[in-house]
Amino acid sequence: MSARSIVPFGPQHPVLPEPIHLDLVLEDETVIEAIPSIGFVHRGLEKLVEKKDFQDYVYVAERICGICSFIHGMGYCSAIESTMGIEVPRRAEYLRTIWGEMSRIHSHLLWLGLLADAFGFESLFMQSWKLREKILDMFEMTTGGRVIFSVNQIGGVKRDMDSDTLKLFIKIFDDMKKELTALTKAFLNDYSVNTRLKGVGILTKEKAHELGAVGPMMRSSGIEIDTRKLGYSAYNELDFQVITSPVGDSYARTEVRINEIFQSIEIIRQAAQKIPDTELSLVVKGFPSGEYFMRAEQPRGEAIYYVKGNGTKFLDRVRVRTPTFANLPSMLEVLKGCQLADVPTLILTIDPCISCTER
């Protein structure tokens, strides 16, 4: 009979960029079960609505997470705008779309780097992050910030991009495509990378649906849902296909995210051509009342922003359901039956963002 043992994994572990704790139940080298416990980065920021008014809370919403920051701010603002019946100027919606897609590119590049680090391909990690710096430069050019921008406000955005900047961005992206193709080739075609990813951590379509997976995790198991198709911001006027893969292994998750990078570049190009000339923001009068569930597509999947107002400047409740939280059950599922040595790669393939999850 093989012996059972429990290996505690985390909170501080070289492969983990963030603290999470897992108890791995092992039979020899095989993981039988994984039990998570969280709370190392829990701040309780949902309760800050009692102390900050609904306009100041935008700054808190942006700090739910420093990687997904922009879309958190946008999702919160959109939710409030829906309860107040504010029609945001179209230019602002287009700018939100462009910044949102840039966030997706930078987040996916960051993830590619961390994945490369997890399977021990150091130079690929450095190359991915080098490319990512270009996106951060573009953010800094247009917003002044590298990771947290504070350009969203209730009723619109605070900064504009002029047509020269947009042209420049398209040019930068065109140049970047060559480098991106070279980089992603290594992920998709390299023999040793393939051995680490192909056939590892399979999540079937049925399981993905049953466990409520979201985002690339779900789409790489063959489910065709992308909340951008709901048409918030400017997505209803832009043409794009939902990217999926039927396979459901770690390789498929990598492939889907890589294709999404190229798709985001295409969406930015369309948005830059179609962007209308309107004002950037409306003056907001009154206070939010009523409730709304805003669904937005983060790089990691669907995020839910729930706000409930009571007609005063302080909200009753803000609740954020982040994509990593929804993907945790799927992560536990793919960990079952894997080898201990594959645990770091598998944890990374859901693209975990613990700071988002624990809020």
Binding site: I35, S37, I38, G39, F40, H42, G44, K47, S82, H209, E210, L211, G212, I225, T227, K229, L230, Y232, E291, Y292, F293, R295, E302, I304, Y306, K308, D316, R317, R319, R321, F325, A326, L328, P329, E358
Partner: protein, 113 residues
């Protein structure tokens, strides 16, 4: 934007409603609790493709509710969260952390003091 339907149901009908949704192919999106005076408002959200709907319970503070984790497996995370942060009593959880899912110093911070 599409309108959002929120149906308030009674505590006893929760499981039967949830099973109905499961049979129709919905997936669980989230569970959210809100403290309203001395009551809790618990909202369960489900989605089928791009359709989105919510069902809602209003329960007094000391009431117990049934876990839906036997029907929708991912619910155990949300229910443990409600238990830890709000102190809502939940029955028949598939995996009960006994209040240790979030390791907090201040227990049930969202509960009415």
């Amino acid at each position: 934007m599409t309108t959002q339907s929120i149906t308030t149901i009674s505590n006893e009908n929760l499981i039967s409603e949830v099973i109905k949704l499961k049979d129709e192919g919905y997936r669980l999106v989230q569970i959210c609790a809100t403290t309203v005076n001395s009551e809790y408002e618990i909202t369960y959200s489900f989605a089928l493709d791009y359709e989105f709907l919510c069902i809602r319970l209003m329960i007094p503070e000391e009431a117990e509710i049934m876990s839906i984790s036997q029907v929708f497996a991912p619910a155990f995370l949300y229910e443990n969260e409600m238990k830890d942060l709000f102190g809502i009593k939940i029955n028949a959880l598939s995996l009960d952390y006994q209040g240790n899912f979030y390791r907090l110093e201040q227990k049930t911070p969202y509960k009415n003091q």
